[in-house]
Structures are given as C-alpha cells and as structure tokens.
Assembly symmetry: C2
Homo-oligomer: 116 residues x 2
DNA sequence: ATTTAATGTCGTATATTTGCGACATACTTC
DNA sequence: GAAGTATGTCGCAAATATACGACATTAAAT
C-alpha cells in the first residue's frame, strides 16, 4: 500500500494494515522476539543474531521505529533498542478486536443460503 | 519477503509473517470485515463495496484464499466467499502468544542497564 | 444455440520492498 | 587529534506488490 487508494478505507483499517505490515517479515518478527528475550537493551548487534547484513537489519529497525513499536536511545557509542510494550499492548487489543469480530461472524454456517 | 533469506527464520516466524502480510493491506482487512458483517456469503460484488476495480479485488481475494483464511464455493453463477473462522481463531491465538511474549518482556525498565 | 451476467486469468505499468556495499557520522580511547 | 568502533544513510539492483483493462470461461436464461 501507500499507493493504495488508501483514503477510501477507514482509519482503523489503515492502522491495522500498517501494523500488520510491520510484522509481515520474519526478520521483524525475529527482531521483536529477540528484544523481548533480552533483559538488557541490546544494541544493533541484533544483526549478529540474524542472517542478514547490518545494513538490512538497520533498515528493519527503522521500520519498526517509524511505527514506534520499538525505541532506540543512544547510549554513548551503542544504541539501546527497546520494545514499546505499551503500544504493543494496544496493538494486541486492536488485533484481538478484529479477530473476535471475524471469528464470531455467523456467516456461512452449513445451513446457510449459499450452502458452503 | 519470499526473496527474504527466509530459510534462516523459524517456521513460526515465517508463518506469523505470512499471515501478517495477508492483513497488511487495508483492502484485505476490509474484505474480511465485510465477509464477517454479512449473514449470507456474498459473492464477488464485494468489489462494489470497495473503491477498487473488480480485478484488483479478485486478486486480493485470491491472496486470502491462498492462505485459506477465506474459502470460495461456486454456487451456480456466483461464488460464495466465506471466512474460515476456525483458522482465524488459530491465527488469533498465534498472534496473542506473540504479543504476550512481547509485552511481558522485562526488558528496558527505567532502572535498566542502558537507562532508556 | 445465443445472449447475458458473474468470475477468474493474463499481461503490463508503476510503486514499494528487500538486501547490501560504500560512505558519512558520532563518540570513545589512546 | 588520530584511530577505532558502532551506527545510520545513500544509492543501486532485483524481487514483489498493487492496480487495472482486455480477454477467457462458465452457467443461467431466453
């Protein structure tokens, strides 16, 4: 998207899609899990843990940072990345609301009009 | 992804990313919500509800169908699309597990090593 | 059989993503 | 201040995604 006819969708649809997109690459999922697993706020040697170049990892980090899902504080020579757990909780709720809406739908039971 | 160095990530990371990608476009979010809101399994005149051409909507439907998030049964002239609520529930659980892992992380309290 | 309606598929143009090397920046240490 | 280290940014190449018109397909209706 973002040359999607994005204006025609609701803010909520766009926001959900935006966050989903941030999670739409295994490297970014891995980065979030890695940050969650570390007590200390490990800097960009996240790259050492992933099968990607430092440049590419940095790019993924920027994408997550752009949505404020993670934050990076400069600490001297290294950068300390942290999860924004508050925002992640909100996102979780947003996703949950979406999935509940989708999974409690009465559509398409076996006795439905269309028979599927 | 899929020219990501995808083999190096875990199956779970890849699966989560794959589903996230399916939700990473407002049109696909809207399609799922639309299907959830209809009692009857409305066919591809979903396109009439969206600001996109029929071709484009059909493409998005195929993407969702490829992941089995929705199903389409041919019913004479029209196609009846339905949500796969069982799979959606599983996906919801998968996402929830991920978010809980991320949000219960003890990383980066104010008293942490890095101070952020 | 012919027409009409509902869908899917193909080809193509454009935008975005992904990945990385090379370079710039900033801070620490000597 | 020079050297070294940790990061970010730029620019490019290749892969994907997005969007749509034109055509093919299938089934209902006449």
């Amino acid at each position: 998207m973002t040359y999607a006819k994005t204006a025609a969708f609701t803010q909520e649809q766009q926001q959900l899609a935006r966050v989903a997109k941030a999670l739409a690459h295994p490297a970014r999922v891995a980065i979030i899990q890695f940050l969650a697993s570390k007590q200390t706020c490990i800097s960009g040697d996240i790259a050492a843990e992933l099968p990607l170049s430092r440049t590419t990892v940095s790019q993924h980090l920027q994408e997550l940072k752009a949505l404020d899902l993670i934050r990076g504080e400069i600490d001297g020579l290294t950068v300390c990345y942290c999860l924004n757990t508050e925002l992640l909780k909100q996102v979780h709720q947003h996703f949950t609301a979406f999935f509940i809406e989708a999974t409690t739908s009465p559509a398409c039971g076996p006795a439905d009009a269309c028979g599927c």
